[in-house]
Symmetry: C2
Subunit: 283 residues, 2 copies
């Protein structure tokens, strides 16, 4: 569902993995569906849910989060028994609740969030290796059938992901800090720098720090709206952190300023080392 960057990459990765699946891309826009065919990111395309779901084993919902309720409603009447449903949405509590409500309790829905993508959107940027070594957080609930969880986790592993299991609530808190807060910070930094009138003095530091601010605003409105509580709590923690540094600078407390800069420097260096070792050791 949704032949964009992520949906297209799922289909390209499925083919690259040699799973021998018949890949059906479902969308509203015939031109975009044609792009999916042109990119070899679908064996068949359709705008009709009944056609698409006839005989389906696995559905991966890859549209923007805001359209999930409508998609779930239209899918519900046509879902074959035994068909497993997963998704790529960036927030999970709201999505999992919508799936339970709209697809029905008996549906084998297991939420997922493969942490891959980028600022670019559209199937023309889809890549077979987009999920290679990406972390995919799978968020089953107590009512998720074990077999569905196993199939969904195996699916994302086959596409190259490292799978981590979390509750929807724990997922939303974690990504608020490591992904949604950085986006909010990048947007605010970019606004300030632009309004200062001195943007052309900025160098690679600001350029890297604001890269994610180029992301699709509609996508991010949905992400913030469906993870409101955790995002707000993360911004509040960030403001407290900034205020502590600000007060230390203002009071010329050099040792404290140094500590507030040296701790994150060491944490980042250790993080880079772990990433490097992980990528060296694992296949």
């Amino acid at each position: 569902m949704g032949p964009g960057l992520l949906g297209g990459s799922v289909h390209l990765a499925v083919r690259a993995a040699g799973l021998g699946c018949h890949r059906v891309a479902v969308g509203r826009n015939p031109q975009r569906l044609q792009l999916a065919l042109d990119a070899d990111a679908a064996d068949e395309v359709t705008t009709d849910f009944a056609t698409a779901l006839d005989g389906a084993d696995l559905v991966v919902v890859c549209t923007t989060i805001g359209s999930f309720p409508a998609i779930f409603e239209r899918m519900a009447p046509h879902l074959p028994g035994g068909c497993v449903v997963t998704d790529v949405g960036s927030t999970k509590q709201v999505v999992v609740g919508q799936a339970r409500r709209l697809l029905g309790r008996s549906t084998q829905f297991v939420g997922a969030h493969p942490m891959a993508g980028g600022e670019k959107t559209g199937v023309q940027y889809a890549r077979a290796d987009l999920f290679d070594r990406a972390t995919c957080i799978v968020t089953p609930t107590q009512s998720s059938p074990r077999s569905a969880v196993a199939r969904v986790e195996a699916f994302w592993r086959t596409l190259g992901c490292r799978v981590i299991r979390m509750t929807p609530a724990a997922h939303d808190r974690a990504v608020a800090t490591v992904s949604h807060l950085p986006h909010a910070a990048a947007a605010c930094l970019m606004r300030l720098a632009d309004r200062s009138g001195h943007l052309d003095l900025a160098g690679a530091g600001l350029l890297d720090m604001t890269r994610i601010a180029s992301g699709d605003p509609d996508l991010w409105v949905d992400i913030f709206a469906t993870n409101r509580r955790s995002v707000v709590a993360s911004i509040d923690r960030f403001v407290r952190e900034l205020t502590a540094l600000r007060d230390a600078i203002d009071g010329d407390r050099r040792r404290r300023v140094r500590r507030l800069l040296d701790e994150p420097r060491q944490a980042r260096d250790a993080w880079i080392d772990r990433r490097y070792q992980r990528d060296e050791v694992e296949p």
Copy 2:
């Protein structure tokens, strides 16, 4: 003065520009001076200021800002008449004041801030092209001799810089927003992400946003300490900006959230276009 990344790169760029200068590197640490010779980033090295300044035409102070007062004091008795002095310090009001006080009013000091460098420090990372297309802000005052300003601006242009002239105060305000605030934000984001326990879920977004948090903390303690007022004001503006976005998210004001994300996205895209055009058109 100071055979590190910037001092070494000044010397490599001077040689690459074919200026035919005799390049003397001055430092305290004989091992580092030897590294400068090994990297061909000096024709002569010395720990003695009298030797270094004998017959000098131009001095470029490339040590950390915190050591500027001691350097200026030791330079003062040995500066030949007509010798022009410039620097690479990241803040300018404090530095220009120190130069006037410690080198004497008659000294031909013209402050400069070439916006080049990186997280790495040390002469072993020095590059002849470090200043190529970098912006160099030159900060003369009303008492700066015209001829000295012209020589300093010509010098940085010869090294490949685009030269912009600003007052020391305007410089400090501008870099607080486009350079010092991003550093403070990167450090605070990194601290929060590390303490969340979910750092290993983070992707390229956080990695890019925290790259500058790997910078030398001692350097940054000095930068913040010598640009206290502007840095504090920038953090305060950033907190207001974040709070506006936070309140819009908390109140589910989707149109406002969208605007707060879309404006910086457009500003960044326009900035990238300007950078691209500038680099295409200019040599």
